[in-house]
Amino acid sequence: MNRVVIEKSILSENNRIAAELREALTASGALALNFISSPGSGKTMLLEKTLELLPAHTRVAVLTGDIQTDNDAQRLMRYGYPVRQITTGGACHLDAAMVEKHLGTWLPRGLQLLLIENVGNLVCPTSYDLGEDAKVVILSVTEGEDKPLKYPGIFRKAELMILNKIDLLPYVPFRLELARENARRINPSLEIIETSCTNGAGLGQWMRWLEARAAKKAAATVAVATG
């Protein structure tokens, strides 16, 4: 018997594909964001509002994942940008191979922004690198303030938390400050933006964050290219 120390990620094949995707996206200067949340937290509506508010000349593409149906892609296509649905047929998360397969040669030239809407799930998508620059976790006020404590993995890995549906605060027993505290207990550097896609609150701040993050990525790409 021969014991071999491996010490390698179980998802090393996924990670290899994700690294290739990241390299390709970085070469083009495109910012890729992976949106993760429970089902029903408002991911698709946030993306609709984002597409609506982006400057018209923005070169953006959207990949949206669901277990079944292309409902989300149908909604997002109305904004005139390229959108592709990934129907996982049972899998509870997107993986890098799915993203690679669906991106293929489809990416628009000079892409600036790739928005990936993961399958609604706070657990499984957390483990799978899709080649994104940042994970964005969305928590709506119709969920519990203790979600960050119950599902620490995604809150630990996310760069930004969007606290969504804040227009419903008068009607639900959700303590905003406690949700923020819980999230920062898990990830002290987590950025937090409060939004309502219904009345537009916080969307300006979200769009400024997005613009600044895209500019940071583009600047990093130029710095690498020019040595």
């Binding site: 018997m1 021969n2 014991r3 071999v4 120390v5 491996i6 010490e7 390698k8 990620s9 179980i10 998802l11 090393s12 094949e13 996924n14 049972g90 899998a91 509870c92 998360h93 993986d95 657990v123 499984c124 957390t126 483990s127 599902y151 620490p152 993995g153 630990r156």
Partner: protein
């Protein structure tokens, strides 16, 4: 569903590692699973046994080390720690 995907990735990784050991067969695999990756060890074991049964890698013993964060552990481990290989016996044709 998550554990089934992880189990499938484990078998794929073992197949890939095994390519470096011709004439040997993986007989035991040790996994390291952190508390933050939300993988239930019992579910993973169940899924692993289910897909192993109909795979080319059976029989194979699975060992899982569940890791809490702290004391040098991050708690987000999702790793193959080790593999054990056994030499394949020579195939002897039995006269009929």
């Amino acid at each position: 569903m998550h554990e089934m995907g992880v189990a499938s990735s484990v078998l794929d990784a073992i197949r890939k590692e095994s390519e470096g050991y011709p004439g040997e067969k993986a007989s035991r695999v040790g996994l390291r699973i952190g508390e933050f990756v939300a993988v239930d060890p019992d579910s993973l074991r169940f899924c692993f046994e289910a897909i192993l049964r109909s795979s080319d890698l059976a029989p194979l013993v699975l060992e899982i080390e569940w890791c809490r964060a702290g004391a040098g552990r991050r708690g987000d481990e999702l790793e193959i720690a080790y593999l054990e290989f056994e030499e394949l016996g020579e195939i002897v044709e039995v006269p009929t």
